[in-house]
């Protein structure tokens, strides 16, 4: 598809670019959309409940399961000995994450056994009857513990350009800072769940609420010691994922499959919410230490930053996650000389994992905090400091990992938002307000987002789709992407409907299944639409190619005189329904089914050399937030948010705006109210929404203005010149954190408030005390 066709062809588009409702919207509002727990269970389905370690580190010395076996309804108990194949659920199968730990305990909540009973309640009751004797050892809980103990899951890794150790002291001014970034619980509304149904020849059919059916397939096959082709994994929809079902869904599917193998009956495992929060991984939390040399103009000369992450007890996805922290530690800023070092700390806590942004938000929060730091100690406006440090033309366009920023729209996008949000007028009004208000202080911040799109593990940037055209003109669509609410299915269906010139109602969306499209990548990295819609397009084009040939042979009409539109096919002077054409083609023995395949062009990455072009393109955005902080109580209110975000040329503006709003609020939760607390014994104390505060409707500012950035579209040849939108908006919420910093900074000139994330009222009070030195 060439650029001219897309840009000039926009008016001709009938389905693409329309704000069509989510494919299941009507089913959702009527309660008809079935999640896995809503499916009719096969007769004889058994239910599972996992029993877990009551210590964070040490050994299980005795496990007496006899009382469980005598409990009502219990059929069997699954232990590590029941696993015929590999006892490992790690995504890369490195062997560090057992499905059921045989003896050694690495975190509080690690699975020791699993009860199989006639009902879920019976299974859950029986779990409590286990007699567990343990020999605990001293756990390593947080990053600081791990830095002292020097325990890591992976070697440290750095991007280095020039010699910051030499250059920083030579800069006119040197700034040093340290702060903490908290983790985040996904709290997908639908908890982890799997239903495994045994078949003939040792086959296993698994319904799993997963973003990565192929990985579930592999890990289940290896646990059962069968070939991949014996395991089919299906998912129609998830009730939210956010990265929390990328690797973390696997264990529950494996346990269900093992139980189904052991009992010969269908087995279902739905985690209770508290167990889900205790037993599944979260966003990585960090300690960040930085040292930066700047010019008098506030422009960075050289930077040295160390980001140490709590990875938890195993590797999981930490390699890619923490790499992405590094890829975004520059956010939108050029670092002439730098070292971006990451440390991947091993702790006796649940293994941290993917979460919307995949480590990127933490890197970006560091960059923005550093900008604030530069601004407050030099007395400049933070927005001016940001703009002065933006990537720009040649000489200032190369990232620390060697990729050039070729599609930079930061200056225009931020300039637009600066104008529409009336940043400078409000800046003045704020100063006046603060001067007259001793207790309530307002803060304002405008922060940018530049987010790299593509998996940095290059092999994942491929996708497949399967499209059938039936003789009545209806179409069946399948692809490797999974639907978790983000609107992937409707977007891909829009592309298919557009190709065949039919209404969206003619395209049947079908459940993701490893039996239909194999060897898929996780639906992650915001790339679901980019990859799967392209693959679907390729499949449609293959079918159309065959139809063009058939039309040429039958009616002697060239393809330039054939159009698929308005639910018809125009063939020269003839007009017919798609079904009539399909029937005629079928009768002439034309194949009406195709498997499409797509791989992202241009991308390269050499991790050993820390060099390449890992991203096909960047998605940009910016947000301006205003907050009011009560300096007596630490309470904070977000008064107004203005967002301008770049989705290229949107495939579906309603879906995209929904992603922006939802992502922003989720990011705001991460940086304000959502606080994970582990005690010194390694027990998560915030394992329910009663103690872990998810944003509610009244936490969200009523004055919330979202605009899509008008642009010529993606400069790369993405699907209809759109851009990925799943993750980038989450990082727009950094503007809230910076605005809180701004409000606190108003208390004392030339001091950088020491604020950790999340900015809970307690954290805000600590920052206020540290800033004013107690004289407030």
């Amino acid at each position: 598809m060439d650029l001219a066709d897309i840009i000039s062809g926009d008016q001709r588009l009938a389905v693409v670019r329309q704000p069509i409702a989510h494919d299941s919207a009507v089913k959702h509002v009527t309660g008809q959309a079935a999640y896995i727990d809503d499916m009719r269970e096969p007769t004889g389905t058994l239910h599972l409940a996992p029993g877990y370690a009551p210590i964070a580190a040490g050994r299980v010395t005795a496990l007496d399961l006899e009382p469980i076996l005598k409990a009502p309804g219990v059929v069997a108990v699954l232990t590590a000995e029941d696993i015929p194949g590999h006892n490992d659920i790690s995504p890369k199968e490195v062997g560090d994450d057992p499905a059921i730990t045989p003896e050694r305990v690495n975190f509080y909540g690690q699975v020791l056994f699993c009860v199989i009973a006639e009902t879920r309640m019976e299974a859950r009751r029986a779990v409590k009857l286990a007699r567990i004797a343990t020999a605990p050892s001293m756990p390593v809980i947080d990053v600081d513990d791990a830095l002292v103990a020097n325990t890591t899951v992976l070697p440290e890794y750095a991007f280095v350009r020039g010699d910051p150790i030499v250059e920083i002291p030579q800069a006119p001014r040197e700034i040093t800072g340290e702060f903490r970034i908290g983790g985040q619980e996904h709290f997908y509304l639908e908890g982890q769940i799997a239903l495994a149904i045994p078949g003939e020849d040792g086959d296993m059919y698994v319904h799993s609420s997963t973003q990565h059916p192929t990985e579930v397939q592999h890990v289940v096959a290896h646990a059962l010691a069968v070939h991949d082709n014996a395991v089919t994994v299906e998912i129609r929809r998830m009730g939210g994922g956010f990265g929390g079902k990328e690797s973390q869904a696997t264990q529950w599917a494996v346990l269900a499959a093992l139980a189904a193998r052991k009992t010969g009956r269908p087995c279902k495992l739905r985690l209770d919410r508290d167990d889900d929060m205790i037993m599944t991984g979260k966003r990585h939390d960090f300690r960040v230490d930085y040292n930066v040399g700047i010019g008098k103009d506030g422009v960075i000369r050289a930077l040295d930053v160390t980001l140490a992450a709590r990875c938890g007890h195993s590797e999981d996805l930490s390699l890619g996650v923490i790499d992405r922290t590094m890829f975004h530690a520059d956010n939108s800023y050029f670092y002439p000389t730098c070292r971006i070092l990451t440390r991947r700390m091993r702790t006796n806590t649940v293994s941290n994992t993917a979460f919307r942004g995949f480590g990127g938000p933490q890197g970006m929060l560091f960059a923005e905090r550093m900008m604030d730091h530069i601004a407050y100690v030099t007395g400049k406006d933070p927005l001016e400091v940001r703009k002065a440090n933006f990537y720009s033309g040649s000489g200032r366009d190369r990232t620390p990992y060697g990729m050039r920023v070729e599609d930079n729209i930061l200056h225009e996008l931020v300039g637009e938002l600066e104008r529409t949000s009336e940043y400078w007028d409000r800046r003045k009004a704020l100063a006046e307000f603060n001067a007259a208000s001793p207790v309530l202080k307002k803060g304002l911040a405008l922060t940018p987002v530049k987010f790299g799109i593509s998996f940095t593990l290059i092999q994942l940037n491929q996708a497949g789709a399967l499209v059938h055209l039936y003789r009545d003109g209806s179409i069946s669509l399948n692809h490797g992407g999974t639907e978790m609410g983000q609107g992937l299915f409707i977007k891909v269906a829009q592309v298919v409907a557009e190709e065949f010139g039919v209404g969206i109602d003619k395209v049947k969306i079908t459940a993701t299944s490893t039996a239909l499209v194999p060897n898929t990548s996780p639906t992650a990295a915001s790339s679901g639409t980019d990859l799967n819609a392209q693959a679907a397009l390729v499949a449609c084009r293959q079918i159309k190619e065959r139809l063009f040939d058939f039309i040429q042979e039958t009616w002697n009409v060239g393809r330039d005189r054939v159009q698929f539109r308005d639910d018809r096919v125009i063939v020269g002077n003839r007009e017919m329904k798609l079904g009539e054409l399909a029937t005629a083609a079928y009768e002439a023995r034309v194949q009406l089914s195709a498997a499409g395949y797509y791989k992202t062009p241009k991308i390269t990455w050499d991790r050993a050399k820390a060099n390449g072009r890992p991203f096909y393109y960047f998605a940009y955005g910016a947000a301006c937030s205003e907050v009011t902080v009560d300096t007596m109580t630490g309470e904070m209110r977000v008064d107004r948010v203005d967002i301008r975000h770049d989705v290229g040329k949107s495939l579906n503006p309603a879906i995209d705006i929904g992603q922006i709003e939802g992502g922003f609020v989720q990011g705001m939760g991460w940086l304000t109210g959502e606080e994970l607390v582990w005690d010194s014994a390694g027990r998560l104390r915030t394992h329910a929404p009663s103690t872990y505060k998810i944003p509610t409707a009244s936490d969200v500012p009523a004055d919330f203005r979202v605009a899509l950035h008008e642009s010529g579209g993606n400069r790369e040849d993405s699907i209809y010149r759109s851009k990925a939108v799943g993750e980038p908006p989450l990082m727009l919420a950094i503007s809230v954190f910076s605005a809180i910093t701004d409000a606190i900074a108003s208390l004392k000139p030339a001091v950088m408030p020491r604020l950790d994330a999340p900015a809970t009222p307690e954290a805000i009070m600590r920052a206020i005390r540290a800033t004013t030195g107690g004289d407030m």
Binding site: H28, T30, Y188, L189, A697
Partner: protein, 156 residues
């Protein structure tokens, strides 16, 4: 075992269930009305909200036995064919993404609008946001949910 007699979505049902059966289990497992979801199991997320005798109730906190004798409405019974104005509004305004919170949101919203109408109080945006505090949505950021409720409030 307890005998539970309910009128659910206008139909009378009688079942014998274990005493500790929750209303949500009764609806989902006995009656296969699976539009009522379980999000948190502990009365905090609102995904399981239904109407009991016309009032919004989190069905994971109520025993089926204690609802006995009541009239229960679930998301499946909100409209008699077609869509209730609230359902239509959520669809029109993109008030959902993953949809898991949606049935509970809608049941809460319908109850909210009815209560405000009955009392003559004004259901402004602030009131809607406040009233929604017992319902968590992790996907949408609530903006479109609030818009949906505003639209339906004008039509109900």
């Amino acid at each position: 075992m307890a005998e539970v007699k309910l009128t659910v979505n206008g139909k009378r049902v009688t079942r014998h269930v274990p005493d500790e059966t929750l209303l949500v289990e009764f609806l989902r497992e006995e009656l296969r009305l699976t539009g009522t979801h379980v999000g948190c199991d502990t009365s905090q997320c609102g995904a399981c909200t239904v109407h009991v005798d016309g009032m919004a109730v989190k069905s994971c906190t109520m025993l089926a036995a204690s609802a006995s004798g009541s009239e229960v409405t679930t998301i499946e019974g909100l409209a008699n064919g077609g869509l209730h104005p609230m359902q239509k509004a959520f669809n029109d305004n993109h008030g959902l993404q993953c949809g898991f919170c949606t049935p509970g949101m809608i049941m809460t919203a319908v109850d909210m609008v009815r209560r405000y109408k009955a009392s003559g109080e004004r259901l402004d945006e602030e009131a809607i946001r406040h009233e929604l505090e017992g319902n968590i949505c992790r996907c949408t950021g609530y903006h479109n949910i609030v818009k949906s409720i505003q639209q339906a409030a004008g039509e109900m």
